[in-house]
């Protein structure tokens, strides 16, 4: 029940809705007590022969009034209580989302997207259920159960009440017991299903191997076995699950039996009228739901608490990147790296001894093997990780002195994994400048040499891309993400291995255009293909996180080392990919 305390802030915030809802529930519970009573009274009138048309009309009016009243109240409390629960989920979802937008890459490195999704869907659903069904079952089991018991004991007969309730604890005990058994079996059924899922996943991924070895038949047999096992486990669930209804009706049946037998004795002793006995049996029927609700309540609350704790923990994760700089203006592009060492938390150093200076308008090329630290270098400039002071100086100020948004405003970044959003191409390009006129979008696309490709799509710039849109080639995605960075006309442009999937001719035309367009702006390019960085003012070669060679294309070609070797290798590769004919 602790979760209700944890959620108290919300209940307080929505106190009128919750109070209103609870009061209405109370009225509904009271209202539900009326029809059985009316039935009893009419039965007594009929038995005594005292019924008149007027009495009938009066009761009819009462019943209709109660019926409509209950209908209206039920409609309203649902909106009040369930509506509030929905609102709570919405509130928490927005809060989580805001939290996510503030978290640095460090946070995302440690967690899987799938887990974060699970928090935002399953956990929030459980919390919503707690604030809705949880409140309902609590109120209903206490109020409706209580009211009905009081009505039975006070208005009819406390003796009869006691006797007929005798079997009910057995019901509570049995359903509880079934619940535990069901939980276990359900768990193993779920496991069987997930085994089945893994099996299918494996078979489909390994379909070539299975076909090559002609093992289809056997694989099907294996699947059948697993599937049969899943059926068996599900049957085990069904065997317990099917116990619920019969047990409940059996025990209610006994309860009725006791009520009717003992009730008749009381009737013959004139301690009870026959109408009251009829009312009593109806009340007995009304008790079923509160009892079941009580069992259900524990279930909901347990789940809700676990979920709420998880969400709280997630929301409590502190910010790793300190955004406490004071400079609110975006920097220009004088960059100086004075980095002694950088490592991800608790890991071996990723970068060490990186020193270089870049004047505004210059272009830096960074090359080296996969894993040599190229991407980390770019990400430091974006301050995706926390730096020590004076590691990087931009425009004579420590990079940490800039406000994050001011720093990032100056940077156009094209990541290695060209991620596009599920939106139109135009929206993707204008990602950072939503209100851009079409001319600007087109200009950026032309700069990135993607305009022609786009016009060839059926819907042109309105083509929807991303996960749920059309599939683009790697090169097309890269160029759209280049356009997305270029539309900002950034002081600092970072191309992180983002020309790898475009062909040599396109690459050349993009580089050429960047050169003329960005004469007074700083550009950083990392690449595998040396042709991407040959024109740079400064080239550094990274190996194991440190600079092993530096210079210009020509100076590097004149010294033995990684650069020269790679250059020759790549020249040969190009030749081969073109068919190897030198004519």
């Amino acid at each position: 029940m602790r979760v209700f305390l944890q959620l108290m802030w919300f209940f307080k915030q929505e106190k009128w809705r919750y109070l209103g809802g609870i009061v209405m529930l109370a009225f509904v519970s009271l209202g539900l007590l009326v029809p059985p009573k009316v039935v009893g009274l009419i039965v007594d009138h009929i038995e005594e022969g005292t019924i008149t048309e007027e009495i009938l009309w009066r009761y009819a009016a009462v019943l209709i009034g109660i019926a409509i009243g209950i209908y209206v109240l039920r409609y309203i409390w649902r909106i009040l209580i369930f509506g509030s629960a929905v609102k709570l989920a919405m509130l928490l979802r927005n809060r989580l989302y805001e939290h996510f937008t503030k978290k640095s890459q460090e946070f995302y490195h440690k967690r899987r997207v799938g887990d974060l999704m699970a928090h935002s869907t399953n956990d929030l659903q459980a919390i919503q259920q707690t604030a809705g069904d949880g409140v309902l079952t609590l109120v209903d089991s206490l109020m409706m159960g209580g009211f009905t018991l009081i009505a039975m004991a006070t208005t009819i007969s406390w003796k009869l009440t006691l006797v007929s309730l005798l079997p009910l604890p057995v019901m509570a005990w049995a359903t509880n017991k079934y619940g535990t058994m069901l939980h276990k079996r359900f768990h193993s059924a779920q496991e069987a299903f997930s085994t089945l899922n893994d099996k299918v996943q494996e078979s489909i991924s390994g379909t070539r191997v299975i076909k090559a070895f002609g093992q289809e038949r056997d694989d099907i047999d294996n699947f059948s076995d697993l599937s049969r096992d899943a059926v068996k486990k599900n049957m085990a669930v069904a065997r317990i699950d099917s116990l619920f209804d019969p047990t409940i009706s059996l025990i209610i049946g006994f309860s009725f039996f006791l009520a009717v037998s003992y009730g008749s004795i009381l009737v013959t002793r004139n301690e009870l009228t026959i109408g009251e006995l009829v009312s009593f049996t109806s009340y007995l029927g009304l008790l079923i739901w509160p009892m079941l609700a009580f069992g259900w309540l524990f279930n909901i609350v347990e789940r809700g608490r676990a979920s709420y704790d998880r969400v709280e923990t997630l929301l409590a994760v502190k910010e790793e990147i300190k955004d406490d700089g004071s400079i609110d203006t975006s920097p220009m592009g004088d960059i100086s790296f004075q980095l002694e060492q950088f490592s991800y938390i608790l890991n071996a150093p990723v970068l060490s001894d990186i020193h270089f200076t870049l004047k505004r308008g210059q272009t830096l090329g960074v090359v080296g093997k996969t894993g040599s630290g190229k991407t980390t270098l770019c990400k430091l400039l974006l301050r995706e990780f926390q730096l020590k002071s004076k590691d990087i100086i931009i425009d004579d100020h420590d990079i940490c002195d800039y406000k994050l948004h001011a720093l990032r405003k100056a940077i156009g970044y094209v990541p290695q994994d060209h991620f596009l959003f599920s939106a139109t191409i135009a929206e993707n390009i204008a990602f950072s400048k939503v209100e851009s006129p079409f001319s600007e979008i087109k200009e950026a696309a032309e700069l990135a040499s993607i305009h022609k490709d786009i016009t060839q799509f059926k819907y042109g710039y309105e083509t929807v891309v991303g996960e749920r849109g059309v599939t683009l080639s790697g090169g097309q995605k890269q160029r759209i993400s280049i356009a997305r960075a270029l539309i900002k006309n950034p002081e600092i442009l970072i191309l992180d291995d983002s020309l790898s999937a475009v062909d040599a001719k396109t690459e050349e035309s993009i580089l050429q255009q960047l050169k003329t367009k960005r004469q007074n702006q700083t550009t950083i390019i990392t690449a595998h293909r040396l042709s991407s960085i040959a024109h740079c003012d400064l080239i550094i070669v990274l190996e194991n996180g440190t600079i092993v060679q530096r210079g210009t294309h020509f100076s590097l070609l004149n010294e033995d080392g990684w650069y020269k070797e790679t250059y020759e290798k790549q020249a040969l590769e190009t030749l081969i990919s073109e068919g190897g004919v030198i004519k």
């Binding site: 009929i46 038995e47 019924i51 009938l56 019943l63 019926a67 209950i70 209908y71 039920r74 909106i79 369930f82 919405m90 979802r93 927005n94 989302y97 996510f100 937008t101 997207v113 999704m117 935002s120 899922n197 299918v200 494996e202 379909t207 070539r208 191997v209 299975i210 002609g214 093992q215 289809e216 056997d218 694989d219 099907i220 049969r228 059926v231 599900n234 069904a238 019969p246 059996l250 049946g253 039996f257 009717v260 008749s264 026959i274 009829v278 049996t281 109806s282 990032r408 970044y413 990541p415 991620f419 959003f421 990602f431 939503v434 996960e467 040969l572 030749l575 081969i576 990919s577 190897g580």
Partner: protein, 600 residues
Amino acid sequence: MSEEQEPTLDELQQMKQWSVFKRLMSYTKPHKKRLAFAFILLLVATAAELTGPILVKTFIDDFVTPRNFEQRALVILASGYIALIVISAVVNYFQFVLFQSVALDIIQTLRIQVFTKVHSLGLKFFDRTPVGSLVSRITNDTEAVKDLYVSVLSTFVQNIVFLFGIFGFMFYLNVKLALFCIGILPFIVLIMWLYRKYSSRSFYDMREKLSQLNAKLNESLQGMSIVQVFNQQKRLRKEFAKINQEHTDAQIRNIKYNGLLLRPAVDLVYMLALLMILSFFGIKSFNSPVEIGVIYAFINYLDRFFEPVNMMMMRLSIFQQAIVSAGRVFTVVDEEEFAPINKGNKNPVISSGKIEFKAVSFSYDGEQEVLRDISFTAEPGQTVALVGHTGSGKSSIINLLMRFYEVNKGEILIDDVPLSNFENKELRNKMGLVLQDPFLFVGDIMQNVRLYNQTITDEDVKNATSFVQASPFIERLPEGYQTELGERGATFSSGQRQLISFARTMAFSPTILILDEATANIDTETEEEIQEALRKMRSGRTTIAIAHRLSTIQDAELILVLHKGEIVERGTHQELLRQRGLYHKMFLLQHGKDSMNDVG
């Protein structure tokens, strides 16, 4: 989409839904007997359950009202009542279980059917179907269909029978009042109709908004670094809040419809029916005496009448979900992109292993040719190596030879018999394929070598592993051949995984060997062993090998150099080097200039 279009779309949808439903029903046929038995149990249980109130009625009218307590009759009545509730509980239990077991068996049938179907499909199908969605068809969607059988259909059958039973007993008690009670039915049907019309749409709307919400969230999480780098957190928060609000609105709308049309509405009808019954007896009592027991029984039946109605209403939305899922499952069952199978019924046998490609051309999509006019012959025992740049068509040649795809033009012959004449079994037994990525299955090493082929003994497995020189490292493992391979064999080095997959191929002792050499860097420890194993495997077998490292195929009888789907150079290693063409360049690339001095 215009407003007028919607109804027609809905109607189409409904027609499709109806045919999917009919098709699902056809799966019950093999279980007719069990279903009939379950149905009889259901009738018995329902009858027992509904006879109870009649006994109470008799008790009230014949004993309580006249204050006449004849002990023997009362004992009979009481034990009769208890017997009835016990019988109905027990029979109901078996009836529930029986219905569920039929439902689960049907799902089993459906699952095996779709899985078998998938295995009969060609690689063309797998090329265009993402693994994830296919897996979800076979598991999640069939699971949703399971819910349809287990919690919807069985509930509907049970509750409808129950409703009929109630009416039957009502007619037995009082025909006139029972006729009045039938008057409730149109109201119920009206509510159901309204619910289906409005609430199911708002439910659908809510689901739709939820999936949008989740898609947005998922995408944001994946692209968060972009969002942050481009300073778009605020805008995305706003966008997310908007979808979140829309989802909330849809949920509230759904709550409202449910509040108007579900339980509260059904209960309203209940109250009106109650009023009707009371007035009926009240008015009747003006003229003639009324049996109190009958009133009791009628009210009792009325109470029981509405529980099934509520239950069915609540399950309606599951129904819709399940039908959509079933529709998806059936699209796979109806798929017609079959894997190539043998033509004719001569069942030829591969004995010597001669392979011949005669002017073969091939295209995956029917537009772009990936192989053009490929001709070559591999004599029995020879090795033919395929080299070329990525996308030059090497893998396509192997795909055709394995008969994963059908040749468009030209012909492939094995032992001078067209490839298409061989039975699948013969091809798979005689041709051993070693894939670039050594795909390992969950299970131990023994199982991974033998796969499901029980004719391969433990001894055979050990022979195969020692042949490829994998036994030293396997035997060093604490559990030896029983070592479980973790997820895709992640616990082993790539070289060790290769060796295991070699052993798998050798355990089947193929006549023809098809090798797709690994491109991934294999650890230097095992590199030597792998080369040695490959040499041993090739000796005495016709081998078609894709080589990425030219050093491994220098002794091949024939090397084919492919470029853009055509053979541009052919010959032995020495001949090709002398030509100073593409092969020469590739060799240079891999070995550097220095090594060229040796070969001249």
